[in-house]
Amino acid sequence: MGIGAAAGTSGIAQQPPILEFREVTKAFSGQVAVDAVSFSVHAGEVHALVGENGAGKTTLIKVLAGEHTPDAGEILLDGQPLAIRHPWQATEHGLGFIHQEPALVPSLSVTENVTLGLDLMMRRLGLIDWRRQHQLVRRALEQVGLQIDPRVRVSDLGVADRQLVAVARIMLLKAPRIVVFDEVTAPLTALEVDRLFRIVRDLRGRGVAVIYISHRLEEIFTVADRVTVMRNGRWVATEPVAALDQPSLIRLIIGHERERLQNSVNLESTANRRPLVSAHGLEDELLRDVSLDLYEGEILGIAGLTGAGRTNVLEILFGARAPVAGHVYYQGERVRFRHPADAISRGFAMITEDRKRDGLVPSFPLWQHITLPSLKDFSSAGLLRLGRERRAARDAAMRFDVRAWSIQTAMRDLSGGNQQKAILARWLSRRLRVLLLDEPTHGVDIGAKEQIYRIIRQVAAEGVGVIVVSSELEELEILCSRVLLLSRGGIIGELTPPNITKPYILAGLFGQPTSEADAS
């Protein structure tokens, strides 16, 4: 399949592949993440792996690294089945992995991090010879073009330098054979990306097979020789990059979708209305001059790759994060929210991306969780009216179809979809003007998803301003009346119907200038 597709078109393919995925399948609790994926990688090539969020790239790489055991299929290295049970075995096979979040120990020095687990101790009289150790690391750092003292602690380095330290580690592998770059460029500047590309090409020149994962398609065209596309856990195509252009690659990534016209957005012009919320020139460590207007009854989408600063925008509007610069206006009046409580009292609500981390109190029974932001309503003479509170919570749970044993069920015992509905219920049973949603259907099953969409539409129909941040482009397609494109902390475009479609959003985000994406 994959092998066949690539064989005729690529010169390198005449040699036997160094790495071969054969029908690799991996499922998590019934959800197939990687579905019978087969393709091969050759020595001395840069092989890009692309696909949307959730296409299965990361899972596939984790199977390669031995973090997951495949349910079916196998991985061949030099024609031999590869069975990695432990990370150090990967190192012995000459496999190197560089992740988006480099796996470094912040409290240790660069030298210690680079040599950690590599069995490269320079010893003298049985003790570590730090002078030679630092020299060794300094050479590796030079190879990646990083001029730092190897004695500094990793915690003192910036994100980009950390990334390069992780790369330097690869340089010290005894015989690197396969190196995987997984979304490495996300935090890097253009200059640093160039430097990284030189390293990638250098590795290729040394006969190393490089697997390069990135959302940024222009990088694929710059650095990769061949590209494998995955969609919904399946292998879609493996093609030489030279045979593709950006639109055709985007088509491969998103597939040929059936026409969907579920977006029942009202197309009333926003021109004459006053915005409910507007932000001017928001800046923080990630955001650069972000301005936006949100109108009553509007569902405004924010699309962007991970790390673009989407969550920061919502957190600033909600008072959960202080902007370095910029102002927020609510109904034309300048507001300074210093705490979420300030925003909540003005009718704001925010639903966070990571429920477990900051969305719910796992030990709380369903009823207490629903009433937590509204406790004042159930308090009289300083005492809580528990009966009234329970009844109100039960009504809200029923209205939003939260399915639980009882309202006493602890939040941690609910399914993801029901947790999310319970979280919606707690906010929507309040007086609400602005609803901020960060990945509202993250980890939610299909049925609950539909219900959540319906609830969001209904909320907007009642005049609430809604902002939806989502990585699921269909979600934006279905829900939004306007979509802002956020890239590297700045808003780079705005889409309005009928252009709120996956291809337009992707084209905008991947930096392919289209007249529609420039419309802002």
Binding site: F400, D413, E462
Partner: protein, 377 residues
């Protein structure tokens, strides 16, 4: 537009389960349904019963005598007050190691106020309580706003308080010139109920009611459960963390005053021996009745489980160091069994219909669980 929004799922939507009111009952599952998985948390209660039955049948005339019961209650009342205050801090996920030193300082200061400064007893008491609140406030500010780890901050504050105590007393016991009105704080009684027992009951009840029936109480639970989620729910976390430390400081001050009254003297090291027993009782209480959550009733059970077991062994002629062994042994036994037993049970009971996709109406539920639950089938 700004009115309270009443939202309804659209009525025409096909749904897997039309939730009738009984589907989401307000009453918890019956006790016999919960018992198996809660069994682990009943360990300390069970142990309490065993202690009473065993010693009660062995030495009924002594162990179950009115004098012995009242003396156990009375002797541990001060510890109970201290431990209840500590419970509130532990509930928020913080720590307070300064309570022992705060208790000592409160004892010597209040004694000093009446004996050396000749203040009226009520004024001395009020001043001391205020100092307890200030100590708690300092702890809270250090921990929340200056982000010093609670263990370190309260250890340091405790050390400073000890230094202050030694400075104030010169290392000597204050026993002269303490008026009878002050002594009565620790020694008065209403019928059979001594003053310390009375304070314990009042403090315990107020804190219990505060945690269960007031907004701040609920907020403290939420902060302990997930601080970030609490903040994003609009709870001003700092305010309540500081409040918890102030409650703990206040309870330590009460404990110090009452202890000085009981003894008729204030020792410059009096509170140190209360610190670890207070923690032991609170942790024992967290393993009692609720899974890993600190609560007032649990803490009181913890105090009196250790106390009654110790008393029983003393009656049998056990040596004076038995108490420490019992306290440590019970703590390990209680936490280990509660972990072990609840690990053996399904920690998660699957929700009745949670996984059913909305479009397909398939028969839900697990008949075995359904029939024993309080929900009508």
């Amino acid at each position: 537009m700004a009115s309270r929004l009443q939202r309804q799922m659209p009525a025409n939507e096909p749904r897997a389960t039309q939730l009738d009111p009984q589907r989401v009952p307000t009453t918890p599952r019956r006790w016999y349904v919960r018992l198996p998985r809660d069994l682990g948390t009943w360990g300390p209660v069970f142990a309490f019963v065993v202690v009473i039955v065993v010693f009660g049948t062995w030495k009924p005339s002594i162990f179950l005598s009115r004098e012995n019961i009242l003396s156990i209650l009375n002797d541990n009342a001060v510890l109970s007050v201290l431990a209840c205050g500590l419970t509130v801090v532990l509930l928020t996920g913080e720590f307070d190691l300064s309570i022992g030193s705060a208790m000592t300082l409160a004892g010597v200061l209040s004694a000093g106020f009446v004996a050396n400064a000749h203040l009226a007893t009520p004024l001395a008491v009020l001043l001391t309580l205020l100092i307890g609140l200030i100590i708690g406030w300092v702890n809270g500010v250090l921990v929340f706003y200056l982000r010093v780890n609670a263990l370190i901050a309260t250890l340091a504050v405790g050390s400073i308080l000890e230094g202050f105590t030694l400075f104030y007393t010169g290392g000597r016991v204050i026993y002269q010139g303490i008026p009878d009105s002050y002594i009565q704080i620790g020694r008065a009684s209403i019928g059979a109920v001594s003053a310390p027992i009375f304070y314990m009951v009042v403090a315990g009840f107020i804190l219990w009611a505060m945690l269960k029936y007031t907004m701040p109480g609920r907020y403290l639970h939420a902060i302990g459960g997930n601080r970030d989620a609490a903040r994003l729910s609009g709870i001003r976390v700092g305010r309540y963390v500081i409040m918890a430390f102030m409650i703990s400081g206040l309870c330590a001050a009460i404990a110090g005053i009452v202890q000085t009254g009981r003894n008729g003297s204030a020792e410059p090291t009096g509170g140190a021996s209360f610190l670890l027993p207070a923690f032991a009782a609170a942790f024992l209480g967290a393993a009692t009745l609720r899974r890993g959550e600190f609560h007032i009733v649990g803490t009181l059970i913890g105090v009196y489980l250790i106390a009654s077991a110790t008393s029983g062994f003393f009656i049998l002629g056990a040596p004076f160091y038995t108490e420490e062994f019992i306290s440590g042994g019970l703590l390990i036994a209680a936490t280990a069994t509660s972990r072990f037993l609840s690990a053996g049970r399904p920690a998660k009971l699957p929700p009745l219909v949670s996984q059913a996709p909305a479009a397909t109406a398939r028969p839900q539920g697990r008949p075995d669980q359904n029939s024993t639950s309080s929900m009508p089938p």
